[in-house]
Amino acid sequence: MKLEQNRIYIKDIQFGDVTAVNNGILTVNKEEMINFLKEDPKVKDVKLDIARPGEKTRIIPVKDVIEPRVKISGGKGFSGVTQTTTQLGDGIVNILYGAAIVTVGDIVGFQEGVVDMWGEGAKYTPFSKTFNLVVDIEPAEGLEPHMHETTVRMAGLKAAEFVGEAGRDAKIDETLTYDIGNIDEETKKYPNLPKVLYVEMLISQGLLHDGYIYGVNSQLILPTLLHPNEEIDGAVISGNCVAACDKITTYQHQNNSAILDLYAEHGKTINFIGVIITPELTTLQGKFRSCDYTAKLCKTLGANGVIVSEEGYGNPDSDLLMICKRLETAGIKTVLITDECSGWDGASQPLADTTPEAVAVVSGGNVSHVVTMGPADKVIGNDKAIATLSGGWEGCLEADGSLKCELNAVIGATSEIGFHYCTAREY
């Protein structure tokens, strides 16, 4: 597959008369966009706001982050979700690089997910560096929780497509080409390079705990093989709202750093042959089946090395280590990406589960690490969510209005696809 990503560098977002990009400034026609999103009768109201890097702005509770793009050729936007089903991974896509659609909206009261655009908090989230168009969606009254979640998820994706259209005729600043042929061709090209697969685990457990591939709920799949280009072209989206620090937002699927960093080594030190999406199920039987099937796919495809990334903490640790055990036992060299929960003082056993086969592990940091974030000048979203964020323990709100929270609440802080820079080191 061959995918050309045209980047249009975005240096600011402003509201204006037209939705367009000029000289790196993205203007958005507020009314048009709100009306477009309100075409869905389940959307009662939409509020739009802008958060720029460095501003003393706090966004909470963040549901999803999506990169605005427009497909120029080779399929359509979020295939099987907002658009009819088409094959993704080939063709040309224009990207408003540096901009992000951030959806907020509390489906349940305990949602967290904070993005601070400045100061200490900004260090811990990758989305403090993007120009964020924040879409606050208020659904129609009386929607049951599943429909509520779907409404907010769809509105976010549509918003990204609406804004992405502005990139159709904009001036392109940079073009990146992602081109990997079929396994046979690539192996002929690089006969001596070790074959590498990337296994991406997705929370697949029900309401607020779901992921979708071409619109298919991952609860219903056996582990499945994707060409790397499909995921970075929008085939995988997030329906996960509760694991703020280590959930994979749609933006992070579109820009999956594990895929991109493996791509960078393709043809140099490795032969990157594909991506396997593995559901993290809830039943023990389901976990065994997914893990066996994942290991079988890796073996069948002749992988020499595999990177496995997790999503979440708790029961998914079991899947991560079971996959690792099966791969290492089969002689496949495996590197895991996870995060850890080693308590406030960092002195506890970091994982919910352990296995001696996990000899090569990358840590995205301690989800219980406590950070102090200064008072914001402006809060976009729901003030009350801050109470949830800071609730549950003593001494979290300081006299000067700054608040202490665990990294757990910060979007993307301990990313288990390795999207961010945090790690934990033993001292």
Binding site: G109, N315, G392
Partner: protein, 128 residues
Amino acid sequence: MNKINDFSIVTNNPIVKEKYSQVIFVDGGFEDVLIKTRDLVHSGHELINHPLGASIRMFFSPYRSIIVSSKSTELVDNEHVSIMESSIISYRKQMENRMPDIVNSQDYAIIDSELLDSSVEEMKRFYN
């Protein structure tokens, strides 16, 4: 477990208690549900779904529902015992400095019930 209806739900969630007939109701917190389930697993009940949630946030839930086989056998599954014990250790570690998020109890009860429904659906794809 042989048949799809041979399961019981250990829960402290009032919504689940209303919704399902085969409930072992625990009058207590998340940890009490874990301990009750552990005791059942120690006495030969099969553990059907993982006792922990998939994110730190769900550790703060006041409610939890776990599925076990309704019948016990002579054979205690050591793997299941070990999952239960390590989950209790994880839970206690996680809650060392935190309290259950009581303010949002009602929402947690709904989500716990929804996640349980998903687990039951998933289970039906194995036992039929």
